[in-house]
Amino acid sequence: MEGVMRSDAKICGESGTESSPRGLGCSLRHFACEQNLLSRPDGSASFLQGVAEKSREWLIRNTCEAVVLGTLHPRTSITVVLQVISDAGSLLACCLNAACMALVDAGVPMRALFCGVTCALDSDGTLMLDPTAKQEKEARAVLTFALDSVERKLLMSTTKGLYSDAELQQCLAAAQAASQHVFRFYRESLQRRYSKS
């Protein structure tokens, strides 16, 4: 068992600058990740991204069930506990990212990694990725997707508000492009963790 290792990985978006000014390219907020920070559980991760509602639990659970290779561990229960430390918008996407990283940290065999991306459409149809809480409230529609890492297929989707079919395809395409950044971040933060530095 390794000791507690803190790797605070930062990633910059396509726009080149660090956190606040968002360019037109990636437009995801700054995110950081810490792994193995709790000693009792087998794996843990804290994901910082710009109800305990049963519905959200159901969505996260089904997404995890779709990727985790359950047949390799019969008669085993995998409990994923998510604690919200602060909510600044895009909560469900952040929960999905944290769940994925925790499963990786625990060494659970999975058929793919997954990430969560939130899109918001405002009243004139402008697409915003990774909205803040204020942007979410003012948006006409908020769509959250979970995408897998192998073929960027849609694993989970939940939406709020009214939108057209064309807008859905547009949001899905934007989310698929943004998921590349999240997966690259996963890879880099894991590399940093397991490198001997």
């Binding site: 159901w58 779709a66 897998d148 057209s164 859905l168």
Partner: protein
């Protein structure tokens, strides 16, 4: 069947299902409005064997302080042990809670009723519509049946006229004068099940849902706008497959709308 999945695969290869339906065909849908006389609005919907009854009761309440000109619509989906052996008696299970949240989201997103229409006197009195959906027989595709039952029941609701008298400041209900609700949109749900990560079938039965690797529910209104795209995990779908689902949802909406209009027309002479 000893090998249910293999049995299904043999049918799916020929593009049909064991009950004789095509992959894109819905089961026979029947709807019955106004069967519960003690409720303000009611509807019974049968999708093949799946049976859902919706009863709506209207009561008075004080409007919320942050929205004094709005009423409430409170849906609740109940999956009792009588509908299927998988449910036990006691507090609502996860599936019932998720279904209730789904119906609440559909009402909220589609703006089926303008909550301002439910207000009687701003800041003092408003209607609250308790929509209780009870499943009487669970054979898959519960979300479609619940959405349809809710829509049909809301079209059936008649609210009496309420005036606030100036002398006593109490509400006076005139039961002789009733009016229908103003239903602004007609959201219709279409559910799909994903088999073996590739094949999409419409309106899954209970057994098909059990064997499926994922489910997807699309709620569309008459202008082709989507109120809800509910895909709780399961195998992945590409954008092209989603597009096929949308076109199927559009045709389903037309079928359901036709059925609704026929039923409403038959109720008129009352």
């Amino acid at each position: 069947t000893v090998e249910p999945l293999e049995y299904y695969r043999r049918f799916l290869k020929e593009n049909c299902r064991p009950d004789g339906r095509e992959l894109g065909e819905f089961r026979t849908t029947t709807v019955n409005i106004g069967s519960i006389s003690t409720a303000d609005g009611s509807a019974l919907v049968k999708l093949g064997n799946t049976t859902v009854i919706c009863g709506i009761k209207a009561e008075f309440a004080a409007p919320p302080t942050d929205a004094p000109d709005k009423g409430y619509v409170v849906p609740n989906v109940d999956l009792p042990p009588l509908c299927s052996s998988r449910f036990r008696s006691g507090p609502p299970g996860e599936e019932a809670q998720v279904a209730s949240q789904f119906i609440a989201d559909v009402i909220e997103n589609s703006q089926i009723i303008q909550k301002e229409d439910l207000c009687i006197s701003p800041g003092k009195l408003a209607w609250v519509l308790y929509c209780d959906l009870i499943c009487l027989d669970y054979d898959g595709n519960i979300l479609d049946a619940c959405t349809f039952a809710l829509l049909a029941a809301l079209k059936n609701v008649q609210l009496p006229e309420v005036t606030i008298s100036e002398e006593t400041a109490l509400a006076e209900v005139n039961l002789k004068k009733k009016s229908f609700l103003n239903i602004r949109t007609h959201p219709v749900a279409t559910s799909f099940a994903v088999f073996d990560d590739t094949l999409l079938i419409v309106d899954p039965t209970g057994e098909e849902e059990h064997l499926a690797t994922g489910t997807l529910t699309v709620v569309m209104d008459e202008e082709g706008k989507l109120c809800c795209l509910h895909k709780p995990g399961g195998s992945g779908l590409t954008g092209a497959k989603l597009q096929d689902c949308m076109s199927r949802a559009v045709t389903r909406h037309k079928e359901v709308k036709k059925l609704m209009d026929e039923v409403v027309k038959s109720m008129k002479p009352k």
